[in-house]
């Protein structure tokens, strides 16, 4: 247990601490001017000073990211299922999928915003969906293609229906690739929100617009501080997905399910 705390908590934290320390050292040793780059603590302080104005905007970008991520995950999964089940859909959709990712998202953000509204979260969520669905689709599609054919044959020999085979075998067998796609999507989602916010003209403001304004006002502390905050949100998102993955795949780490029941059975076994 102690080895796990060291390996999974302390070392990663130490690694981030070292990064901040290196930043601090570079600023001090090379006499970097504050209008180029502030010291890390000054950047964090700048965000804390303005937290009263900032927190609704932080909630806003969190909401866009969560909705966009959820939408992208669902859409990406459905695409993968449709493409794996129907060959025509796969042939028709695959070039479009690649095209969708070859296009620079920021170029798409302008027409999307014009279509879905300048003062609206809809284009922002649409951009996050656009970014998140692709790694999910590609990974789930790959997972579905690699479900053990012998296992599918066994289900067929039992006389299983296609639906039951899908939900009892294909979906659970695809859970690891699904989470691989979700983890990639989780780290990109915040970037999508940021691009969307940069292009839209929200009347209530946004994190991206605040960073842009702060940059214009030479408030480099705030620019760096908010960038750090976005990075922290991205990391938290990734960790949340890792946590959900761990909860939904107990068989990868545990020896038994339901340990409380195992104890009861063990005693009843001893009675015999």
């Amino acid at each position: 247990m102690r080895a796990r705390v060291v390996g999974w908590v302390l070392l990663p934290l130490a690694s981030i601490g070292l990064l901040l320390l290196a930043w601090e050292l570079v600023v001090v040793v090379f006499h970097v001017q504050p209008y180029i780059a502030p010291r890390p603590l000054a950047a964090i302080q700048a965000v804390i000073d303005k937290w009263g104005v900032l927190w609704p905007l932080v909630l806003g970008i969190l909401r866009e990211t969560v909705f966009g991520f959820a939408g992208g995950a669902v859409l990406g999964f459905l695409f993968a299922v449709a493409m794996s089940k129907v060959r025509v859909v796969r042939r028709l959709l695959y070039p479009q999928l690649i095209l969708s990712q070859a296009v620079p998202v920021i170029a798409l953000a302008f027409p999307l915003t014009a279509m879905l509204g300048f003062d609206s979260v809809r284009p922002i969520i649409a951009i996050v969906i656009w970014i998140v669905f692709f790694p999910v689709t590609v990974n789930v599609l790959d997972g579905l293609a690699h479900v053990d054919q012998d296992l599918l044959n066994l289900a067929k020999v039992y006389g299983a229906s296609r639906w039951r085979t899908f939900f009892q075998i294909e979906v659970p067998a695809t859970i690891s690739p699904l989470f691989t796609g979700l983890k990639i999507g989780a780290t990109y989602a915040i970037t999508g929100s940021f691009i969307g916010e940069s292009v839209s003209a929200s009347s209530s403001g946004s994190i991206a617009l605040t960073i842009s304004q702060a940059n214009g006002n030479n408030e480099e502390g705030l620019v760096y501080g908010l960038t750090l905050l976005l990075a922290a949100i991205g990391v938290a998102f990734f960790l949340a997905v890792v946590g959900v993955e761990a909860l939904s795949t107990p068989w990868l780490r545990r020896t038994t399910s339901r340990p409380w029941r195992r104890r009861r059975l063990a005693t009843s076994g001893a009675d015999q």
């Binding site: 039992y158 006389g159 399910s257 339901r258």
Partner: protein, 274 residues
Amino acid sequence: MTHEFRSLLRGSPRDAQGYIEGVPSTVLLELSAVAKTFGDQVVLSPTDLLITEGSFVSIVGPSGCGKSTLFNIIAGLLAPDAGDVTLAGRSVVGATGHVGYMLQKDLLVPWRNVEDNITMAARLTRGVTAADRDEARRVAQRYGLGEFLDHYPKALSGGMRQRVAFMRTLVTHQSLLLLDEPFGALDAQTRLDMQRWLLDVWRESGRTVLFITHDVDESIFLSDRILVMSPRPGRIVADIANSLARPRDVDVLTDPHFVEIKGHVLRLLYGADR
């Protein structure tokens, strides 16, 4: 489709075909002129086969002799080019859901514990009932895995996993079990344990077993009949009765009759009189 036979053999409760003396035997599985070709390769030339209810029949033969094709046709995974397969008098060509089936790979799903793996067939066909779960627990306890019901498959040894896979096959309640090299991946000692275990379960369950193996000793130790197959074209070249008395244990392995059958089968597989 009921054939009556008399035991021709000395004192054994089942004769060579697995018929119990004095009891009318029933043909469970009948193949008539079943054939299969892939491209220009005849993987199974027209084959006739009668399997009586309750018997244990092994199939040995080199790779490519059509034994797995034969299994897949019986199980309904492959449609034969010609011929008919009847199970208990009913044609099952192209149908599925009428046999128990087990491979060398245990095919346990890693995301379900032992109990839920045993009830997999019910989950895939109609939904698991309390009775299914009760039966799974009872079978697991009876055959020595009662304390592992909540274990995930990866926590079990290879032999235990194969036992779970066999229990999963058993609770399908199919009268015919197709076992395709189920112990092929196990070490020699575990394999012998599993063979003895399988004989116990078979005797208690009264099922009919068709058993593919590469291991001649295994085929003789387990079965009432040994079908020897040969490739190009895939066909049954010999149907050998095995009258070794049951119940059998390891001493059978050195019985003169065992050695005699083994010599016969080995000559068929590797020798000149093929």
